[in-house]
């Protein structure tokens, strides 16, 4: 599987899983579907960016670092939006988002396939 597709799929799956953990927070349980949806979208966007980076830069540490950065940035963008009561969930969104980014960064560097050179 190529790196971008792997990033997209893994980011989407882990994003959805991460969103579903909101069920354990009773205060936001009634918004679970919306959280899962946006978390999946966030994961997919992060996965595509990380996969594209992995295609350009072949370095495991840099891939993990880039995953961490993208995960943090996108998670911050989501966490900056308050819930209906005006409360922010920076820790709950940013910390797992960063680790998910690192996992996707590692996976795209380690397991994703680079594009093959064109044959004439």
């Amino acid at each position: 599987m190529n790196k971008v597709l792997l990033g997209l799929m893994l980011g989407g799956i882990l994003g959805a899983f991460d969103g579903m953990t909101a069920w354990f927070t009773p205060a936001v349980r009634n918004q679970l579907l919306m959280i899962v949806f946006f978390s999946t979208i966030k994961g997919i966007i992060a996965g595509i960016c990380i996969g594209y980076f992995a295609r350009k830069v072949h370095s495991l540490p840099l891939g993990i670092l880039f995953g961490l950065a993208i995960g943090l940035v996108l998670a911050y963008a989501v966490a900056a939006m308050p819930d209906p009561s005006g409360k922010h969930y920076y820790f709950e969104i940013m910390l797992p988002g960063a680790i998910v980014g690192m996992i996707v960064g590692y996976a795209t560097q380690r397991f994703g396939l680079s594009p093959q050179p064109a044959h004439r």
């Binding site: 991460d18 354990f24 009773p26 709950e92 910390l95 680790i99 590692y106």
Partner: protein, 328 residues
């Protein structure tokens, strides 16, 4: 009149030295002495480079030694591979001695170089390079029959060259690589193996049991596999006795045991099999020679994927802590 020992030694060296008068080569120094003759460092005056010249000890181009040397040159010439020293020229010197020149290899013999190899993976990668060269020779129908650390040279950039094909044997002819009959100096040399049944060729400790018995009909690719296993054994033993001894892993012991099995049918059936098991070992994958239990397999998978697993574990622990922290 008394003649001193050093004078005798000088005289002997002068007599043994090849007569290069009138040839394109100038003698520089002697590199070594083998069973067939000497190896000298010479300067090729036409191409302006130094090469190694192997010269038979007997000044007779029709002797069996000359035949063997030419046969060796012919065999090496058909093995064009980065891991096999290339032959440049072959001929007869003015004193009647047959010679061939080859690339002058700068570096150390594997037995001397081994002390500089610190880790098991470094040593195994080196053996893999030897396997590549020997595997290539096998694919061309040639057996080495004298593989040992002394016949492997390691260059300054880590390049590996398999040397001394004097005992090699051709097990099958290939039309594409058969030398031309138009070369007059080679025309009298039979390229087929010159050894008869019962003659023992090889080096004790590195030759296979079938070689030790002199059973030349039983010798095939697996005999070289045995020698490669013995080289592995040498490198592993050398590491165990070094200043920083390293315990030999069981899988590696099993690889060595399989390669050096007494019965050829119990060995790796070709060099590629041995090399692929070494690759698997280096990549942390299961090896053919060592059937492992379920728990060992799981543990090896965990060790191989430890970074990935640690990150997943970190995520799960953190997510659990966050849930506990927010729970009423």
């Amino acid at each position: 009149m008394k003649v001193s020992d050093s004078a005798i030694a000088r005289l002997r060296a002068a007599v043994e030295s090849p007569d290069l008068e009138g040839s394109r080569y100038h003698l520089l120094d002697k590199l070594g002495q083998g069973g067939m003759g000497g190896v000298y460092r010479v300067e090729d005056s036409i191409l302006g480079r130094q090469v190694a010249m192997k010269v038979v000890a007997v000044p007779d181009s029709t002797s069996s030694l000359a035949d063997r040397l030419l046969r060796e040159a012919q065999i090496i010439a058909r093995l064009e591979h980065p891991g096999i020293v290339p032959v440049h020229d072959v001929g007869t010197l003015p004193d009647g001695r047959v010679f061939y020149t080859m690339k002058l290899v700068q570096g150390k013999r594997l037995d001397a170089h081994a002390a500089e190899l610190g880790t098991i993976p470094e040593r195994l990668r080196l053996v893999q390079k030897v396997c590549d060269a020997v595997g290539f020779a096998h694919a061309r129908g040639v057996l080495h029959r004298d593989l040992k650390p002394q016949n492997v040279m390691v260059g300054p950039f880590g390049e590996v060259l398999v040397m001394d094909w004097g005992l090699s044997k051709i097990i099958r002819e290939q039309e594409a690589t058969r030398p031309s009959d138009s070369s007059p100096i080679l025309s009298f040399v039979s390229i087929q193996d010159g050894t008869s049944h019962g003659s023992v060729l090889g080096t004790p400790g590195y030759m296979s049991p079938e070689q030790e018995r002199g059973d030349n009909t039983a010798i095939d690719e697996r005999s070289d596999v045995f020698s490669l296993g013995a080289i592995l054994q040498f490198l592993a033993r050398d590491l165990a006795h070094s200043a920083n001894p390293v315990a030999r892993p069981r899988a590696l012991t099993a690889i060595i045991k399989k390669a050096t099995a007494v019965q050829p049918s119990n060995r790796y059936q070709d060099v590629a099999d041995l090399s692929s098991d070494l690759s698997a070992y280096l990549d942390g994958l299961p090896v053919q020679a060592y059937p492992e239990g379920v728990f060992v397999g799981i543990w090896r998978w965990v060790v191989r994927n430890r970074v990935w697993l640690l990150m997943v574990l970190a995520y799960l622990i953190m997510r659990t802590l966050l849930i506990l922290w927010r729970s009423p």
